[in-house]
Amino acid sequence: MFTDYIAEMTATFIDPRKRVFVGYLLLAVFIAVSWVCFYQRRSFRDALALLFSPAIWLSSSAKLDYLLLVINKALMLLLSPMLLAQLTLASAIFYGCYELFGQRTIVLAEAPDWVIALLFTTIYFLLDDFFRFFTHRLMHRWPWLWAFHKVHHSATVLTPLTIFRTHPVEAIIFVLRSSCVQGVVIGALVFFLGDRADIMTVLGANVVIFIFNLVGSNLRHSHVAIHYSRSLELIFMSPAQHQIHHSVDACHYDKNFGVVLSVWDRLFGSHHFSQKQQTLRFGLDASATEVSHSLWSAYIVPFVESAGCIKQAIFRLTRCCRLWREQRIGFRTPTINKVPK
């Protein structure tokens, strides 16, 4: 278990499939410095301050990010074997397709291998990105889920390690989402495309995610507001747009849920362009002067809040049911039936 933990922790920074692979981090630094110095025409010192300021990295908010990274790694090692594996679902989908269609006809059997791989990679990317967006949207719209996702939004400073500021319940939801998407895609596409179905990779990482990470995905959680042109921001989510998502400004609430593509936000009406020279405060509440970055608030409080939300929802539901029943049977309250004196 301990060696698995060390291996997992090490892989976080040396596996090109991971967001915080050291190569991507170094490139992000390069992009950020270039942006600040050449685009914003500010000094190199300013760039370093934005990226490496101790006020950011040694803040209580950032320290909670580090703690959650360390603790969650161990928790997920324990929990993940109990969760649905994508291969289990993929096999079930594959068999299900056989039962449903009775036979297997390989589609595009004459197409070259790269076409099949491109098709598989594209379909997987689109579905994965959409369901990341949609799950994120639900995290904001359903109060009992927001109670857990709030942990991530409670960050008052953003660093690439803020991606690890995640409640375990939220992590489980992400795992299940990922397993479902991968399972369905792998099972169905292998059935229809055959054994040539493959993901296009660079250094072992999905090529789309590789490019996404290469162009500075780590800067989504940073204080460097890199924006794209408006036409590009209609399609791709810029770091500045994601920082808006973390903003305490009420007009930025529930905006920009997307990961790679911003088209989903356009479709669902939650798209927000970035603003040039935007300066944002991050966190949950604009009025809050002191925010708790304790383990208690990160791990335990969300359960209490979520339970409260569920309890309220049940109360509202039962009240609705009672009122509906009363309306149906024409029940009159005793006050109506009282004979006036």
């Binding site: 997920m76 993940s80 039962e99 009775g102 036979q103 500021r165 992400f174 397993s179 493959d198």
Partner: protein, 471 residues
């Protein structure tokens, strides 16, 4: 002065290391177990003996070779020869396989040089084989197959898709070797009052009852005595008689491979084949359990085993039985995958109006291996119940033939009866389900020829996603 201290230290360390390795090596071989029979007056200095079981391996290997000798016409001489190796006990039977191959020199050339008066028929699982048409018992089925093989061209019947050498060989490995080991020697024979350890196995024997019972089970597994000093690849290559494996096989360096102690047969060969990938350890798990169990019995020094010793011995027996069953299940999995691939090629060839003969022959071979192993799996010490029913129904009595027919019975004159079956496409799904059954019910790990391998490799490439990371 320092040198005076260093040299002896180095010498002492070297001698100690050599002695330790020699002792360790000897301890890990299934060999050189001392005689523990009280009052033994014979000349033997060691007690392990399993020559009868090796003789049966030789008979099985030879019978498989003979089953492929037919020329497509009635051949009573061939049938008689096969029956001699199957049921006969006559002297003078030559070892047809394994024989010397180039620099891989086999010591023995006759069955009697290993053990005389042995046959396979007397040890075959006697129950009804429900996975074979005609409601036959194990011995009846084998005699039936031998008769059919003798008239088939090289043992292959294209009208039914039966590859008799494969069917006969894989079934015998289960119905004789596996069944005798796990359902006899490692089961009933381990009972307290049966073949006790405080008495010789028979009058004048150099081995006790329990020692010989254990030895016989080991013999049926088919591993070289020095397996634990070899890698899985070594044991695999020894069975294949590869020239490079000769030095590994010839443990005592006498320039020949002794089939009794230095050759690899049957399920030991298959276990080694699966272990080569590094995903499994069947060969060493089974052999180590055999060695440890034998050592336990030897350490009783000819006294009756205590309850605690018998419990530990049964634990070793359970390890052997569990791993052995998995080896056979892995083989079913592997050949179901091979059959699936053959069906894919066959379907494509038929759709393109190509010549399907060569592919069909391969399909028949792989099917025969799968069928033989699937029947073998059902001859162990536990009733597989519904699992066996599922397996037999998925595989069927014969491969699905090109006219979408399958053998479904044998008439009273011994002629196969065919009826409508699944399509080739539908049968492919059956092969996938056979693989799934092996995974779900037997927990196979090596999974060679996994028809759904692409699912697994894609899942690995996409990564498990089991991380607490936001986007």
């Amino acid at each position: 002065m320092k040198l005076q201290k260093i040299i002896p230290a180095v010498l002492f360390t070297s001698v100690s290391a050599f002695t330790f390795s020699a002792m360790t090596h000897a301890d890990n071989r299934y060999a050189d177990f001392p005689v523990t029979v009280h009052g033994y007056k014979g000349k033997a200095t060691t007690s392990e003996k399993y020559t009868g079981q090796i003789a049966r391996h030789l008979l099985h290997n030879s019978l498989k070779k003979l089953a492929a000798k037919g020329n497509g016409e009635a051949n009573p001489a061939l049938q008689a020869q096969m029956m001699s190796y199957y049921a006969g006990k006559e002297t003078g039977r030559a070892i047809i396989d394994p024989t010397t191959k180039g620099s891989f020199v086999i010591k023995q050339s006759e069955i009697d040089a290993v053990s005389g008066g042995k046959n396979l028929a007397g040890k075959v699982y006697g129950g009804v084989i429900s996975g074979w048409p005609g409601n036959m018992t194990g011995p009846e089925m084998l005699e039936f197959m031998i008769a059919k093989a003798s008239v088939a061209n090289k043992g292959y019947d294209p009208l039914t898709g039966y590859d008799y050498p494969q069917l006969i060989s894989k079934f015998i490995m289960g119905a004789v070797f596996y069944n005798q080991a796990v359902d006899n020697y490692l089961d009933e024979k381990l009972a307290a009052g049966t073949k006790p350890n405080d008495k010789p196995y028979k009058e004048g024997a150099a081995y006790t009852g329990k020692e010989h019972v254990w030895d016989e089970a080991f013999g049926y597994f088919g591993a070289p005595a020095h397996t634990l000093a070899l890698s899985a690849s070594d044991v695999y290559n020894i069975a294949k008689k590869k020239p490079a494996a000769f030095a590994k096989a010839d443990h005592n360096g006498d320039g020949v491979v002794d089939v009794v102690t230095e050759m690899s047969f049957a399920h030991a060969y298959y276990a080694a084949g699966f272990d080569k990938s590094g995903k499994t350890q069947y060969l060493h798990n089974i052999t180590r359990a055999f060695v440890d169990g034998r050592r336990l019995i030897t350490n009783a020094k000819g006294a009756a085993l205590t309850q605690e010793q018998r419990t530990r011995l049964k634990d070793y027996a359970a390890v052997i039985a569990t791993n052995w069953e998995k080896v056979i299940a892995e083989a079913v999995f592997k050949y179901a995958g091979s059959t699936y691939k053959d069906l894919q090629k066959l379907k494509a060839t038929v759709e393109n109006n190509g010549d399907a003969n060569a592919i069909f022959r391969q399909y028949a071979k792989h099917w025969g291996e799968m069928k033989g192993f699937s029947l073998a799996l059902q001859t162990g010490n536990k009733n597989l119940g519904g699992v066996a029913v599922k397996l037999n129904r998925l595989v069927g009595f014969s491969p699905v033939l090109l006219g979408n027919t399958q053998v479904n019975d044998i008439d009273s004159t011994g002629v196969y009866v065919q009826g409508p079956s699944e399509s080739l496409e539908g049968y492919m799904l059956h092969m996938l389900k056979v693989q799934k059954l092996m995974v779900d019910e037997f927990g196979v790990v090596a999974r060679n020829n996994d028809a759904l391998e692409s699912l697994g490799s894609l899942a690995t490439k996409l990564g498990s996603g089991k991380h607490a990371e936001n986007d």
